[in-house]
Assembly symmetry: C2
Homo-oligomer: 251 residues x 2
Amino acid sequence: MTAMIRSRPLVIDAHRDRNVCLHCQARPFSVCSVISDADLERLGAAAVTVTVQPGHTFIQEGDPAEHFFNVTAGTAKLFKLLPDGRRQVTGFAAIGYFLGLAVSSSYAFSAEALDTVRICRFNRPKLRALLDDFPALEKKLLEVASNELVVAQEQMLLLGRKTARERLASFLIARANLLPHCAGHAPDGAKERIHLPMTRSDIADYLGLTIETISRTLSRFKAEQLIEIPNNAEIVVLKHETLDNIATGMT
Amino acid sequence: MTAMIRSRPLVIDAHRDRNVCLHCQARPFSVCSVISDADLERLGAAAVTVTVQPGHTFIQEGDPAEHFFNVTAGTAKLFKLLPDGRRQVTGFAAIGYFLGLAVSSSYAFSAEALDTVRICRFNRPKLRALLDDFPALEKKLLEVASNELVVAQEQMLLLGRKTARERLASFLIARANLLPHCAGHAPDGAKERIHLPMTRSDIADYLGLTIETISRTLSRFKAEQLIEIPNNAEIVVLKHETLDNIATGMT
DNA sequence: CGTGTTATTGATAGATTTCAATCAATGTGG
DNA sequence: CCACATTGATTGAAATCTATCAATAACACG
């Protein structure tokens, strides 16, 4: 029975706990942070908690956009496809990420769980009602969308004008800066161990390269002692500043 | 004297007309459309109308983001630079375009007028006050930002995964779809004359290519009788559907 | 331990860039 | 009014970066 549930790609967690949101560990990182404790019950009532198994596509590009999502655990890759299968990963959604901002009637991208992903799901009418009642939430969403736009423009610069080496350095630096202790810059000697829940293929599709180029470039970084690769899912950044310079095209 | 004024790159139009917004021809295309006629005076009071001369950079990446802009005439190119001068044009802002959505304290991109551009300028505190008073405006901004995000993702797919030929076809189709009469698709025989206020170099920087590749690819499209090039600033689309198929990688 | 998946490494090919020359359009000054 | 310079666009030839094709290697998992 347990095994059967595990194998289901998408599980709606049975809960009618009025306090799901209050104890949600994703709250400080997500749009929900603008909702006061008092109003949180209202939010929880509108949300459905879902667990998505690794590899499962829970948003399909072109499908009617019925839901909005908030990631509370795990990481998902967001991507678009061309008819012949070429893929562009447009981003990785981790804890706190709000998904589904498109006002269009259908999703503009697909989303697939990289590991076990937990999401908070809202349907359109309910979110709309929440937005009407909590202007702060709407403000927060605008803020989130604006930041997303800045990130998207940065990615366009990367995809349009950076070399493979610069792209990968940018990616590693961005990942390193996700680390909790890295509000500022890490000194060039300090080791930063970054976790990569995605495959080399996902990284390639994110950076507009091939898996071979990713592999070769990482090997070269290793040879230059800029990084260490303890295993496929982890990379240790040895020289943050040097990588940062490469990332911004200063070498 | 007139010549002297003409030569100034940025001219603040002298006006204290309470009805500037009421008769603004950009209103139906811009965020202002959600403001009722009655409230429009309030909007006009917060805005400063500015004329920007061709070639002038009126937003500088990294500068403190003091203003928001709404384009009411002309076209501007938005771009980011790498230290060594490599440029990525992230978009073209024409009539109705709202600029400055980043919540950050500094601009994430630069903006340069391609032709004579007229903009409506708001400073941060005044726009914030407007947003507090008109929730519909905030809703509209969120809608605009969300749409921008969809466009940005589409552009990432283009930059990361499309060939030069596909990129240029995508660009031409997008331009053709801007034409007022093109709500739906134009039949493959109908001629669409698209206007290009930007140079080949701007197109190259927008599509992540070089000026030479743009030129070669356009020449090839012409040889294949998909387009005509009456002059550098205009292109006639002869076979919309064929170009559309190329754009989506279906050939 | 096979076995299949994922990653690495090598050799070659190809698309686009780079370098270079020419052409066209526009403007300027003598 | 016409040489001349300037800017933008086109076209050609060569170079380069990355992709593709191919073969191992490393790893995870039952």
